[in-house]
Symmetry: C2
Subunit: 378 residues, 2 copies
């Protein structure tokens, strides 16, 4: 697709602001540089090689992915060291073996003896020395061996005896997304680190080297005070930031690099609402700010150049319609938001909103530069 | 992609049950046959030509779409009469003119004098006789001229004077999705019809023919008792049905033709929960059953062949993780849901879940038949 202006792009479409993206990357690199730990960027947010290369500038070579489709896409673009950071499904073990045989340095994770048994059996059957991290739970959020589960050691032993490489420990403190205070996030970062270190110690006590201690999320990476003993940090959403991160104090609204370009198509005069051509298909159904101090609806409204319009939010969505309203109930006027006016919507959750689009337009110095594809599917 | 078995398909992926799809289509065709009104199927749910052709079997030629990308895709497959049923954005008028010039019989809708002004100006500038339906609001749900708004006639006159074809009226009673009783849906269908008829009468009183009276949604189409005066019904989600429709009494759980195939990847033993490899990226963030009598979480769990497993639901999601729990709190056992077991998840909202996927696998007689692409983007 050829470059156009913001007034010409078909709406709805996704925009990425290059300057904000670069500043977000630099900020995270500075933070982790101070803590002297390399980043293994999570590429599930960007799903694009040009953005990924910027994320990898200061940390060459190693990345995290959430699907095998991402692994294939980024491997095809020369990124060889990839951590697939979702508990491995036995049905995917053949696909993993094929990728390792093809030269992809692909690591997997698991958090149960049952999964370790499946991996060990596949290692034998397919003659594949899987590289495995054991996932440990720090906060009861999602997955991971519990801190006191003897199956952590049992699984590690089984894998090592079965010819797999037990690379170490990974922890994801996803509970940090629910913190109310940055102090609480810093505490959770400490908890995440301690859970990882203590599990790594348990592996080392049974004679395994376990060189990798991998932790992270954008909130905990941002507010970590100490990462001694941690060998890599994973974070992804920091590259674009979003309203959920702003609500956590991880960034400001004006750091958010991702937005959906939309156009006003009508008004609900009696209720002082404005109708736009971006619904949940373009914005996603994510309501991640609903539980935060400031509920931003389905997204925060900015002008076509990204400038502040006050607390105007997308209050409701249908498949291809969005309904705008002022958060404080002040009616919006048809004069301020005429039919045909273009706006940008900042997303609640960058991963979810970006996931609704096949690609984005890169915006630099306010001008549309080029189309960047996004890897899709599984 | 070649045909495989349900045990071999990469997870997560989307499945369409051919027999259920056919039965859903037949049921709607029977209902509208009895009411003697043709269907103009809405193709925003299926976004695929093979499914669309089945929907159009009994109503050849005319369809509804929610994006210009759908219009292009279906026109490319020979469907020429297309209603783009989202209030037209002025920025899309050149694209609409180009499509009409290329032979697409594309109709647009609008609901304000401002939009009519933009359409009339574009008609002159681009020498395009836009075919326009005026959208009328029946229930305060989303968009449409209010019943008493003189701008309905003013817009119609302006369009006709400007060389456009004022084809008639369209109403969408989206509020029917919030009804608690089928009786209330039948009443809303009557309201939808009356709003359309009364607006059409107003256009005819000012000398316009207004031949089209278009109404519809899957709930109102299903429970309409009388469609006299209506010339076409629009409905889309009926083709697959979903848990929201089941909650409205529009279908039964066992009529739902769409599901997401997933695999168990772990357990949260203390809380009796099961972790699967389908998160909100595969299921969507839609929580449409949250406000219904039975909240189905992010979807209802079935076995790999679609059979009942009781009220087990996807209670929580991350990007690529789903957490299963029994709705009544009964702990799920790792024995019943072992790592590696495959399951199907029935969706809250077929349009939203299908929208997360680039295509689906057609299942017939329990076997995987072939991959069907889905049109994407805008």
């Amino acid at each position: 697709m050829s470059a156009q202006t913001l007034d010409q792009l078909p709406t709805p479409c996704l925009l990425v602001d290059q300057e904000r993206t670069r500043a977000n990357i630099d900020r995270m690199d500075l933070q982790l540089g101070q803590l002297q730990v390399p980043l293994r960027p999570h590429l599930k947010t960007c799903k694009n090689i040009d953005i990924a290369r910027q994320m990898l500038d200061a940390h060459p070579g190693a990345a995290t992915v959430s699907t095998l489709a991402e692994a294939d896409y980024f491997f095809g673009h020369g990124i060889k060291d990839l951590l697939y950071a979702v508990g491995i499904a036995p049905g995917k073990l053949q696909a993993v073996a094929e990728r390792r045989a093809a030269g992809m340095h692909l690591s997997i994770i698991l958090d149960s003896l049952a999964a370790a048994t499946a991996v060990t059996a596949a290692a034998r059957r397919l003659d594949c020395a899987y590289r495995v991290l054991l996932e440990v739970d720090a906060d009861g959020h999602r997955a991971g061996f519990r801190a006191d589960d003897p199956d952590l050691e049992n699984s590690a032993r089984m894998l090592a005896d079965g010819g797999c490489e037990v690379a170490g420990i990974m922890v994801h403190a996803g509970g940090s997304y629910a913190c109310q205070q940055t102090e609480a996030i810093a505490d959770m970062a400490a908890t995440e680190r301690m859970a990882a270190l203590s599990a790594a110690t348990r592996l080392r006590e049974i004679g395994l080297e376990a060189p990798v201690v991998s932790v992270g999320s954008t909130p905990t990476a941002t507010f970590s005070r100490n990462l001694d003993g941690v060998t890599e940090v994973r974070a992804g959403v920091y590259v674009f930031q979003d309203l959920v991160m702003a609500g956590l104090g991880v960034c400001r609204d004006e750091d958010i690099a991702l937005s959906v370009l939309t156009e006003v198509i009508g008004h609900r005069v009696q209720s002082g609402q404005v109708v736009i051509d971006a619904g949940w298909m373009a914005l996603s159904r994510d309501r991640g700010t609903a539980g935060q101090a400031r509920d931003r609806g389905y997204g925060l409204v900015r002008d076509v150049d990204g400038r502040d319009l006050g607390e105007v939010v997308v209050q409701a969505t249908n498949q291809e319609h969005g309904i705008l309203a002022h958060a404080d109930g002040t009616p919006l006027s048809a004069e301020e938001f005429p039919v045909g006016r273009r706006l940008r919507i900042l997303p609640n959750h960058a991963c979810a909103t970006a996931g609704q689009h096949g690609g984005y337009w890169l915006i630099e110095d306010g001008a549309v530069q080029r189309w960047l594809e996004r890897c899709q599917g599984w």
